[in-house]
């Protein structure tokens, strides 16, 4: 347990210091959201209708793009080999790393959501709904994306290939995230059903992600 706590503390510290680049994700998120009005026009009514979708897409891309460094940096300086060889099960270590990554790179996105909601003409309730669905949904993105990050480090390939492999897997999260936010803002449908499915998706990926990532690390690093 202390080993896992130490791993989480270390990863967060590295991510937040110089060269870590966790906060670049927030900057990217902001840039994507600022770009949107240029594409669809400065129509505030339209923007507030598209708002949840834009925020979700931005968060999805931002969390995906920060992920490919999850194992790569550790692989380059050799600490990934130590983690693989240590007595802590690799699955737990992977889960700890993903949790640390979510705390360092995922939570700032959710904190930034209210500010970005202002830019998209969302009212308080709508922003709150989007932030809440992001809070429930982004762990799923991180834990599924971790599989892609593990494949990236074993294949020495990152970037576009991993995005192409992981993006289809994140479609359910996107569907239920946007559906739950829309249901809270306008929809005749209840907020509960899509939101609980979103939470279920996060829990499922919490189980599958570490196992798949650990399997690919175990079989791939030699």
């Amino acid at each position: 347990m202390t080993a896992l706590a130490a791993l989480i503390r270390r990863d967060i510290r590295i991510a937040l210091r110089v060269g870590g680049g966790a906060l670049i994700g927030v900057l990217f998120f902001l840039t994507v959201v600022v770009l949107m009005p240029f594409a669809v026009g400065p129509d505030l009514a339209l923007l507030s209708r598209l708002g949840p979708a834009i925020l979700w897409l931005g968060a999805l891309l931002a969390s995906l793009l920060t992920l490919d460094r999850l194992f790569m940096a550790d692989h380059e300086d050799g600490s990934l080999d130590l983690i693989t060889m240590s007595r802590t099960p690799l699955e737990l270590a992977c889960a700890a790393k993903a949790l640390a990554h979510w705390l360092a790179a995922g939570l700032p996105l959710i904190v930034a959501t209210p500010v970005l909601g202002l830019l998209l003409n969302l009212d308080m309730a709508a922003t709150g709904a989007v932030a809440l669905t992001l809070l429930a949904g982004t762990p799923a993105l991180t834990f599924t994306g971790m599989i892609g990050a593990a494949l990236a480090v074993t294949l020495h390939r990152g970037g576009l290939l991993m995005a192409v492999l992981v993006l289809p897997l994140s479609i359910p999260v996107l569907i239920f995230g946007v559906a739950a936010s829309q249901a809270a803002i306008t929809g005749p449908l209840s907020f509960g059903a899509p939101f609980s499915i979103l939470c279920a998706l996060s829990l499922v990926s919490l189980v599958i992600g570490p196992f798949a990532a650990a399997a690919s690390l175990k079989h791939g690093l030699d």
């Binding site: 599989i147 294949l155 192409v164 499915i197």
Partner: protein, 261 residues
Amino acid sequence: MTLIDLANPTRFLALSARVLPWLAAATVILLTIGLYQSASAPDDYQQGATVKIMFIHVPNAWLSMFVWGVMSVASLGTLVWRHPLADVAAKAAAPIGAAFTFLALLTGSLWGRPMWGTYWEWDARLTSVLILFLMYLGLMALWRAVEDPSRAARAAAVLTLVGAINLPIIKFSVDWWNTLHQPASVMRMGGSTLDKSFLIPLLVMAVAFTLLFVTLHLAAMRNEILRRRVRSLQMMQASRVAFSSEVGTGSREENASKGAA
């Protein structure tokens, strides 16, 4: 005869060489029967002659999912039993599965044009097949991205299994998404159960297409084994050339003359 006996690629090559002609002949015969039957099937009272696209479209759609299942079993073989032919099977199946998926999408869109009035409709079923097609392409890109086949095999196996778990979830969520956006405005095919005059040709075609897949898959596996042999022979030769050129210039000339001969 167990799966372990097939672990020897030479034995697999010999056995598949004996089986392949029979499989190909059975495929041709069944396809001929199925095509004849589907051509002589009566027109639908609502859809007219276009209903005949179904006899091509449905087997393709069925196989698009079946092939992913085959690849998942092969991936288990790679990761769990380290069966030497499992990754060959998984690699050979991916392009074939992508082709079946593409044909299912293509025939579906050709069918949709006269029926729905549009080539593409964001219908739940169409959308999930499109996502399946994207995942096939991603998997093929992964196979092509890495030179060492065994390293690529393990990565592809992990991804295939993750996909096998995720595909039903994606299918379910796309269904949910679609019913949310547009309730039952799309005309669904086959509102009633299929008539026998349609069902029998369809089943024959389904079996014929499955046989077609098995034939193509075996042939592709043979090609892949031979391709790997050629690759390892080329690497051996390359290392020999590199080694002899290190030893002395005399042997390099000897090699050059050998290469010319």
